[in-house]
Symmetry: D3
Subunit: 126 residues, 6 copies
């Protein structure tokens, strides 16, 4: 991959995280108790339990994909990548999402592939 | 808030409304009777009745948020803002949407916060 | 209304609550922390805050209706009824749900009407 | 098909229509203007226009199937049957719904087949 | 558990499977190529690959739960049970579904618990 | 229409197709059997059968619209356009989608109109 393209891709990861982080801060600063607790649960739900963290990330990924939430898919792709799940495992999870959720999942599959490439590219460039 | 940022934000409100308005005109010009009547109902449904207009706007907002329709959320945020609903009330409505609709609502919550900021900023700059 | 029909209707309320209550007990006995906290939030979210409890119930009702969750609709109808919301107010909320969510909401509207009748009938017979 | 089974099946059609009709009457008697107009649109939308009525019924059927609304599917199956659409055409429409909507549509496909059988059986027995 | 209740519960498993099986046969007998291939994919998608079969069943379960498809949930619960997944693992998967999909998942959680009990009860009684 | 605007519009068609095509190639290169077969079915499902190709495209369009998948709507608009379906037919199909799916479909209706204009504009400019 040429350097310029690599930079663009890794920027898409940075931009996503920067926006996500900035807005999460604003939301949490607002002190709505219900929302704060849901955010808190969102962190706790994916920790090691009867199921290991990798499995849980894939569960979160598939739930996000069938509900067609691009930002949620990106988030779980990034965590999956960080946990060392490989592309074949992630794609297999997404194939189940596409089968269960139907062809309307395909546009989200395209963007998931694009984001995975960005994650790999960011990692190479760092 | 510095002036430049304020301008960007108020532009996001203007851009949304300009696009919405332009396309609605095109749709209505087409004279499809079913679509025209649905547009018409959309105006009538939120007028004062057994429930007051503020409550109805919040009902429209929560319905839009759990169905994860960003443009619908923006529209109801703007009307809510115009009716004098304050941020705490709006956020409380959105907290119910997030609980009922789950964490997949969170990305829409981020964009709702951003649009509310734009509405406040537009109001300050005018 | 004749007595027999009244009894059937009020039974539908009792049966719904008995099943709901029995299964909730089983779920909570399981001690899954995430699920317990979500149940807990579900209680807290509808308490008085910036918005009053009646408005919040209607928000929960509309969210449930557009997401087409019959049991959730029943639950919020029952609480709304208990809070003294009248039928016209509830129906107006449901009319917004039907407009925003489309004609696929209509079958749920039928069952909502049926359950509201059961609530009224139970109340008369007690 | 033996007579008893035929009777059961044709009853499932009658029961569905009786309940639907009874509750629709209650809803319309309530005079909520928004709901009444949506019911009215629901009748107008499927009349002959640029597209013929058969095509429109199939559009309603597929929309109902991917949104997984059993009662709506039944309704459109019955109208399709009445318009003389044959099983192969209806199944082909449902196959598109299953592909677009995913394997979660399959349980609704089962119930659609069952209802189609009931429609055929009612017709034979009458 | 007393014997009678045990029998009722195990019947709910048998009834579900009998209906599912009978209608699947009818659907497949119809020879619609698209539907047949989707059924075929549905079998292949959950076989051992980069991910093991237990993980894949849980992915199918969570996808079904957030899309609120009771029959799909039952099917994956039954396969999960057959594969030796324990209740704690299954509940943890369902807790993620409830968090991601929101409180509208709770009624499906109740029915999932009930079906899991039926599976355990059937197993004891056999 | 002035030339510059016409060019922008026809670019929106080209850009959509270029991205779609590039990402589809990446996905298919990955050789996940389930995903490849779903892509394959997606081609087969819309070929002539008991229903003609125009009807099938409209079924795909309406399914996509009620499930609010912009990219799927664009794809079916483009194929519909290529098959010679006229705007009135397409809009009538979309009016059914808007009625069945509710006012949350309206933002997608706006983008559908915009894309149809782009298709017409591309055709004029070529």
């Amino acid at each position: 991959m040429n350097e310029k393209k690599q930079k663009n891709m890794s920027n898409s990861v940075k931009d996503f995280n920067a926006y996500r982080s900035k807005m999460n801060d604003k939301i949490l600063a607002d002190n709505n108790k219900i929302i704060k607790r849901i955010f808190n649960l969102d962190t706790n739900a994916y920790t090691q339990g009867a199921l290991d963290v990798k499995t849980k990330e894939l569960l979160g990924l598939v739930a996000s994909a069938v509900l067609r939430c691009d930002d949620c898919v990106k988030y779980h792709l990034e965590t999956s990548y960080g946990l060392g799940l490989n592309k074949e495992e992630v794609v297999e999870a997404l194939s189940i999402a596409t089968l269960v959720g139907g062809t309307i999942v395909i546009p989200h599959l395209r963007r998931a592939y694009e984001y995975w490439d960005a994650l790999e590219s960011q990692s190479e460039s760092s």
